[in-house]
Symmetry: none
Amino acid sequence: MKSLDHLYTQLTRPTSAKLVLLVLDGLGDLAGKEEGYLTPLEAASTPHLDDLTQDSALGRMNPVAPGITPGNGPGQLGLFGYDPVEYQIGRGVIEALGLGLELKPGDLAARANFCTLDADGIVSDRRAGRIDSNHCERLCALLSEQIKRIDDIDVIFRSGRGHRFVVVFRGPGLDGPLTDSDPHCDGRSVGRVEPVQADCEGAKKAVAILAKFNERALSILASDSKANGVLMRGIAARPNLPTFEERYRLRASALAVHPLYQGLGQLVGMRTEHGLEGIESQFRRYLDTYEKYDYFFIHYRYTGIFGAEGQFEAKKKAIEDLDAALPVLLSKRPDVLAITGDHSSPCLVQGHSWHPQPVLLNSPFSGSDKLDRFTETTANLGSLGVFDAKYLIRLMQANARMLGKFGA
Amino acid sequence: MKSLDHLYTQLTRPTSAKLVLLVLDGLGDLAGKEEGYLTPLEAASTPHLDDLTQDSALGRMNPVAPGITPGNGPGQLGLFGYDPVEYQIGRGVIEALGLGLELKPGDLAARANFCTLDADGIVSDRRAGRIDSNHCERLCALLSEQIKRIDDIDVIFRSGRGHRFVVVFRGPGLDGPLTDSDPHCDGRSVGRVEPVQADCEGAKKAVAILAKFNERALSILASDSKANGVLMRGIAARPNLPTFEERYRLRASALAVHPLYQGLGQLVGMRTEHGLEGIESQFRRYLDTYEKYDYFFIHYRYTGIFGAEGQFEAKKKAIEDLDAALPVLLSKRPDVLAITGDHSSPCLVQGHSWHPQPVLLNSPFSGSDKLDRFTETTANLGSLGVFDAKYLIRLMQANARMLGKFGA
């Protein structure tokens, strides 16, 4: 893969083309008996997608590899052309991005939650009696005020839902991953945080900082009857990814409403836009910033939410809403437009799945597969076949005439 | 591939699901002018397969890689999820398994045949005048009686068809592969057996044992006018494969009539069932042992035999017989059912071929590709696309909900 990546880089040349990746979160679904053998995409009325399909190439993509169900991070990285097995993102980092924290190179992030410790230091309740988000926010504010810095490391807090929060450690020489302090069940003592790779100097420093952090946090929380301890999981450094611009020679913009997708874009060096309120505003921002960027990642969230909840009608409606807004995007038609999911979230599965998501690729050079609709079933018949998602960006580059001829 | 394998292993968790791999040997075929552009699978009447197809995903699989025609070993290993290029099985081992010899770790197996040597020790007839199987069996019994052991190595004989037999060497410190003593044409002297890898200590010991074996065999056979010598080929150690249970956390059973397929199952640690007499009895044994295992490999032989003989009608009939027995299997429907071949054996080719075999995958989570029959041509339209056979087990695991989510 490394050498093929190198070849792609060698062949890449900038052009003036505009490329758009439109991701309908969790788009792919299953045709099952229950819904008359229709998927939400098949059941939906999608006149604008249908029009586009006429002049497009279709196919399906494995998000990672056959049978593998990706989390949001690996699913999205694959679409950005980064092999998700080669470039893995720690859970703490995903959580931090999801709560809207901008991570800098070298940052170490941990998922954390408040817990209840008994007099002997045993975890009697991993969720601190499921304290509510307000309580959690107050405790985070308290910690934030009293633990701003440990040695040469800044400490940043962000509260989440219920008992959950995130801690980011920022400063020189830190690295991960570290083992969890969360014992993952009640009745045990808090785990020792250790480097996952024994010879990692940065992880050793991180262990020392986290020990001091824990000591200070315990003394600050001592007066809280429920939430008197902190457990940490998925402690990992922000991965050092080659930027999108380095890899593809594309100035890229992430137009996402949910902070996680803004954050995933930032991880590969995309600029993020703020103040977006829904798919139409995202499309309008594309129009407004058309000259500033070459590549626009537009993330639509609702298909994924309703798929994960198993709500067929709502997922179908979310697709129809997207379709209705599509003319805004197409009013300034990008040279290359790819429409797909970051993974499938079939209503039947009520969560992410391994099923290949359908993909539509439209450009003056995409050709037409002469299919009249964009669905899972028609995508099976397309000229793109079934391929790994990490190649989508290369097909987009080719359609943008950005990849020169290989060899003579 | 290694690291992807590692990822699959990390994600694997046991469930209570039952998985069945039903292999119709040499199933895939070609639609040619001679038979009205129908394959045997298309020409056959298969009401039960048709029913199943309605709720299944279809695709085609390369047994190894595009254009590669596999022997029985690589074809089957691929279906078991072992990369056939990484895990190679010596011919002596395949021959021993095919004759029903159970091989233990460390065993060294050789294909052998009786030959005629002239007074100068030159091979005058590599096949010893094509002696019949009875003659061969008598000679093997004679050798077996007089060569039970050489140093600390047990010697085991099993006669085959005509002049062919197998010798297994069992004891400490043996390894292969070794070069052939068979000169592969008449008029030459018997070849020197040597280690293929010069620095392999186990192979050096094996060479010494085989020299002693040859000396003793020659003196025992001296009185036979036709068969007074032994030639060996494909001398190889039983490969040390990670077991099916280690790799997939599945207790596996091989329900095969032919000893080779029982043996291939044993190589990956499957339990074998004996006393099976045909596909219906294999299906019944599945029902009877349903609780004992998680994965059942069921091998149906006749499609392969008739394909290799170019008998279109007989192959079609064999498919219809299988279809007629299918309700027995489906009376206790497995959670995941895959139906495919181990390779194609098109009537036109009269032997194994490289053409991708069709595959049907049925589970509550397979979705429906809305195809009404399971054939080579409909499989081209399926959501599974064309993929390498080694991924089938991973798709089966995913459909059994045995693979956790990758990343957050």
